[in-house]
């Protein structure tokens, strides 16, 4: 049985419902990241005076925050998806993985719109079209996979341990500073870079900045995140599968 239709319809439902009532709703979706962008840029580039590899600070942070915003939104929505649909989970059988998957898919339109906004900024600021945009072809799937992986982990853990849902926002807020959005990877002391790059998001964010801003390729150490991502993806699916069987009893 093909479940793509189910994922698609659920995603479409989430998207419709989210933006059905309000035009303001659409604006809100970009308000939060915009504030984050201004804060990060201010703290790191203005106050701390961290260099931005020769690009305008605001643009630098915008390229960095693009992937992070999608990740944070999609992962937290996916993480809440089973709790949020517990009526359905308790009363209908369907593949539960469709819920986090559709939550990630439903966040894609936001990603596309923010990408267009960043490209617009690029055009206005610099008048050049970045030649490494092709990198997005690899970066987007990896970003989506990362968000989905986090979503399976969070939703599985949330079902098992209710209090986990209070941990997630804290982690995401920490993550905003722990990934190199408004500062380059080179700010991290060389001996710590290996550990730092175990976070798959570090490589992704660096990759986005490389692709969108036409920067030199990031240090190869960022590839360390890839095996970590794959491991987390597989273990996340396994964990989710273990938990989903009893989801209706735990909810």
């Amino acid at each position: 049985m093909d479940h793509r239709e189910l994922v698609g319809l659920l995603a479409w439902r989430d998207f419709r419902v989210r933006y059905a009532q309000t035009f303001v709703g659409v604006t809100w979706a970009f308000f939060n990241p915009l504030v984050n962008l201004l804060i990060l840029s201010f703290v790191f580039n203005r106050v701390a005076g961290v260099g931005t590899q020769g690009t305008p600070p605001l643009l630098y942070a915008a390229a960095g925050i693009l992937g992070w915003t999608f990740f944070a939104e999609a992962a937290s929505r996916a993480g809440e998806s089973l709790m949020g649909n517990q009526n359905m989970v308790r009363k209908i059988y369907f593949p539960r993985l469709a819920l986090p998957a559709s939550a990630v898919v439903a966040s894609l339109p936001d990603l596309v719109v923010s990408l267009l906004l960043v490209l617009l900024m690029l055009l206005i600021q610099t008048w050049w079209a970045p030649s490494q945009l092709y990198g997005l072809i690899f970066l987007f799937p990896l970003l989506i996979l990362t968000a989905f992986t986090a979503g399976t982990w969070i939703s599985a853990l949330t079902i098992r341990f209710r209090d986990f849902r209070f941990v997630v926002p804290v982690l995401l807020r920490l993550g905003l500073f722990a990934v190199p959005i408004a500062y380059p990877l080179s700010q991290i002391p060389a001996q710590w870079q290996g550990i730092y790059c175990l976070n798959p998001l570090v490589g992704l964010i660096e990759g986005f900045k490389w692709s969108l801003l036409g920067l030199p390729a990031p240090s190869p150490v960022v590839w360390l995140g890839l095996p970590v991502l794959i491991t987390l993806f597989i273990t996340g699916l396994y964990l989710f599968h273990r938990v989903e069987r009893y989801a209706a009893d735990h909810l």
């Binding site: 439902r13 009363k91 369907f94 341990f161 209710r162």
Partner: protein, 394 residues
Amino acid sequence: MSNLAIKIESLGKRYQRGSASNDDGSFRHWLSKLFRTRPGKKDTFWALKELQLDVPAGEILGMVGRNGSGKSTLLKILSGITPPTTGRAILNGRVASLLEVGTGFHHELSGRENIYLNGAILGMRRAEINACFDEIVDFSGVGEFIDTKVKHYSSGMYVRLAFSVAAHLRTDILLIDEVLAVGDAEFQKRSLGKMNEVVRDSGRTIVFVSHDLPVIRQLCTTAIGLDSGKLFTSGSPEKVIGNYHDSLLLPGSSKIQWRGQLANKVAALTVNINGQALSDVPAIPASQTLKIECRITHEVNLAGKLHIAVYRQGTRLFTIQDRKIFSPLVSGDISLFKIAAHRLRPGNYQLAFGGITEFDQGRWFYAEDVGSFTVTADWKDDNDRINFGWINAS
């Protein structure tokens, strides 16, 4: 038997009791459980135990049982929502379930959008939904409101649409919990007709839970009765319903749910109609008189009155007292209530039994569904003119 639709083998489901209060699902609770050296005595109960059942394809299986007897748990296991603790259930074919009306419906979406969404959740492809879309809409009678958000629907429209989607799905097995009770009589009738048609025309199998025993009798080809998670009777609907009634009325049973301050004082009663147990009296001809005997089995050191009440489809029709003044309730005393059956319209009636003590004490007990009976239709127009619904209790 190759064409079994459902095969259930020593199925059991164990739940943690009081999990709501004790295990709040928090990490702390899990940790404390992990580090407890000797696990405390686990407070568990079996919602289903050692269930064994074969359902051939093309049957309409009715399931009866009191609240908490495991009916819903069984449906949940069959539909795959929750796994069994022991044993297994094998279902041959695609399964759709309607355990609650309108789950998977979203208020902000229109009827049309919800049909597609709900269909997909139940496992149908878009093309399949397209093929029977018009039928679904027709049957639901939602008509022009199909593009209106369902939050503006009446609850009746909501139920009709939800049932319509599930009933038109091309699945082999359809599991239906007591959901039809929500619709109006006309729709209930059509739904039952639809279920019949579905089974007859496409050989699908339906598992159907209802407290509405006449419906089970009328619709189902076979039936089972559950009690405390165990199968206690199976076979023809007639037989199962009979056994179910008996089980409700077993002397000394706590199965009747007594309410009131005196509830524990009246642990049992016997009800019989014309000297026979209720289950042996499937129908009472209107020409007969109904004699209902109620016996108190525990002594209550109070003066009081006993009464029965007759219900029809959840509506209390009348109440009859057994005495005019309060007098001591003594164990073994029998109260006899007589009703001329022709004063009741043909149909099904439910009995309730209760008692009150003198008003300054204000104590009472009451139980619904202590029995039921059917009045058959040898009933004359004359009765309408002669009787104005007076009932003489004696």
